[in-house]
């Protein structure tokens, strides 16, 4: 294999390049990304970065890393098309040949059909985060549209910085897509204690320069309206090239697309859940990096083990770290344990374990799930001594 081209220089694209070298790949690596500057990580954008963090601390690696490892970076460069017949990608009139192509184009903010969207800002890129950071001075009124992870992390930071915050969520509970009802309730209570107004079951109908109007007719005055209602995967390139796309770029358990010369990873990839076999798409650092490592091993060494990694996720909101091991389906049931752990079940199978500030239980769950032996309810029986602590 002579040249691997990676489209997208985010978390997963970077990891693929780094892992290829680590696995001993000695061909050319070219990574093309449309954002400016060095590849960086997004999680701190809604956390430490807004609280005085530096751009340097976001960088995945310094420039010298890319030089030392002979990873060629083309930043500020948009890939317009993939020409599969000739195994080339097209940027600004230039054609670049690949022997293997990795699509790591991530996702972009979802912009639903709401009037006045131009009065809101998103929080996906460093560019957007920097603009928000600059605006968060002298106590402003912040309105957050969407009570998901990013909206809530942002709300917690804005409160900590002394701004007044209102979160409006259309669903009846917070983070409904990803966590159980008891967890949603605990976080709603937490944010309310922090002084944030949490509005549930009342979505935003219209945004204007002074705030937004909710479905109920209520008007929320804001100086800054953050739109955080989810993302859409960047699949257009793949679709145009005739690759199979369904909620994401469809890959098999080796993370190969419908074209054997093309892999896809991270936020843009729809892959078979190793446990249930159903096609899933995850938006997490874990998925992006674990996908990248598997693809790198396959390209560098011909490794043919299928993707089996256990999903994990975290979200920092004020002094609470939510940790999730595994993946629950939307209809999975929940059981709350005495120590606050929430177990999710599909039938009798534990699908996910949700904890707050409890690394021990989180890691027990991750290790247990990785062992391949199904987790049992007993594993999480808390002894009275632990409950007392």
């Amino acid at each position: 294999m002579e040249r691997v081209v990676i489209i997208g220089a985010g978390q997963g694209g970077f990891q693929a390049a780094a892992s290829l070298r680590q696995e001993g790949f000695d061909g050319e690596i070219l990574m093309i990304g449309d954002e400016q500057g060095r590849p960086y990580q997004r999680p701190p954008l809604s956390k430490a970065y807004l609280k005085g963090g530096t751009v340097q601390a976001l960088s995945l690696r310094p420039d010298s890393f890319f030089e030392t490892h002979k990873i060629e970076l083309r930043m500020g460069c948009w890939v317009r098309a993939i020409d599969r017949a000739n195994a080339r990608v097209e940027i600004d009139g230039e054609q670049i040949a690949y022997d293997h192509l990795i699509i790591a184009t991530g996702a972009r903010n979802l912009r639903p059909q709401i009037a006045g969207l131009e009065h809101s800002v998103g929080l996906r890129t460093l560019h957007e985060a920097s603009a928000i950071k600059a605006f968060l001075v002298n106590g402003v009124r912040v309105g957050v549209i969407g009570g998901g992870f990013i909206g809530l992390e942002f709300a917690a930071v804005a409160r900590e910085l002394g701004h007044s915050v209102t979160v409006a969520e259309a669903a009846p509970r917070l983070m409904a897509r990803a966590v159980s009802e008891p967890m949603s309730a605990r976080f709603a209570e937490k944010h309310r204690q922090l002084g944030t107004e949490i509005i549930l079951g009342d979505g935003v109908a219209e945004i204007d320069a002074g705030g937004f109007t909710l479905a109920s007719g209520r008007y929320v005055d804001t100086d800054l309206a953050l739109l955080a209602v989810g993302v859409v995967p960047n699949v257009e390139l793949a679709k145009l090239a005739g690759l199979q796309v369904d909620n994401g770029i469809v890959v098999d358990e080796m993370l190969v697309t419908s074209d054997p010369a093309i892999s896809a990873l991270g936020d843009c990839a729809a892959f078979p859940d190793p446990v249930t076999g159903r096609s899933i798409r995850l938006e997490s650092v874990q998925a992006a990096t674990d996908h990248a490592r598997l693809i790198a091993k396959r390209i560098a060494k011909g490794a043919d083990a299928p993707y089996r990694a256990v999903p994990w996720f975290w979200s920092d909101q004020a002094d609470w770290k939510l940790q999730i091991a595994g993946l629950a389906g939307p209809t999975d049931t929940a059981e709350e344990l005495a120590d606050g752990t929430v177990l999710r079940f599909c039938g009798s199978r534990i699908t996910a374990v949700e904890t707050i500030n409890n690394a021990k239980v989180h890691m027990t769950a991750r290790k247990g799930m990785a062992s391949g032996v199904p987790l049992t309810r007993q594993k999480f029986d808390v002894t009275p001594a632990e409950v007392l602590v």
Binding site: A18, P43, T68, W314, A359, K360, H362, M363
Partner: protein
């Protein structure tokens, strides 16, 4: 500036200048130290920033963070009494001259 020396499993040593306030993990990344991957960016979720700190420095690095031992249990490299997650160690003047040893990769 504070000097920190990173020693690879094969004995190769690299002394770098660290900025007070950065984590040891960040210092390692800034200086391209092999063997520190820091996939979670310091969120204490991945244990890919695992290193060994010799006894004489252990006191000066401060206590482990809550949950650090639990995370270390999942490190893919060998964990010993000297094990730390370098994302949880802040560089202070007291760490000037510290030696950080990197784990060997488990096959």
């Amino acid at each position: 500036m504070v000097s920190i020396t990173f020693i690879q499993p094969d004995g190769a040593a690299q002394t770098v200048q660290a900025t007070v306030g950065d984590s040891v993990m960040q210092t390692a990344l800034n200086n391209n130290i092999e063997g520190i991957f820091a996939e979670c960016g310091g969120a204490m979720m991945c244990a890919t920033c695992h290193c060994y700190i010799d006894d004489e420095w252990a006191e000066k690095t401060g206590d482990k963070s809550d949950g650090e031992d639990d995370m270390l249990d999942c490190a893919e490299t060998e964990v010993t009494d000297a094990s730390r997650l370098t994302c949880q160690i802040k560089v202070t003047d007291a760490l000037d001259g510290m030696v950080v040893r990197l784990p060997s990769e488990l096959a």
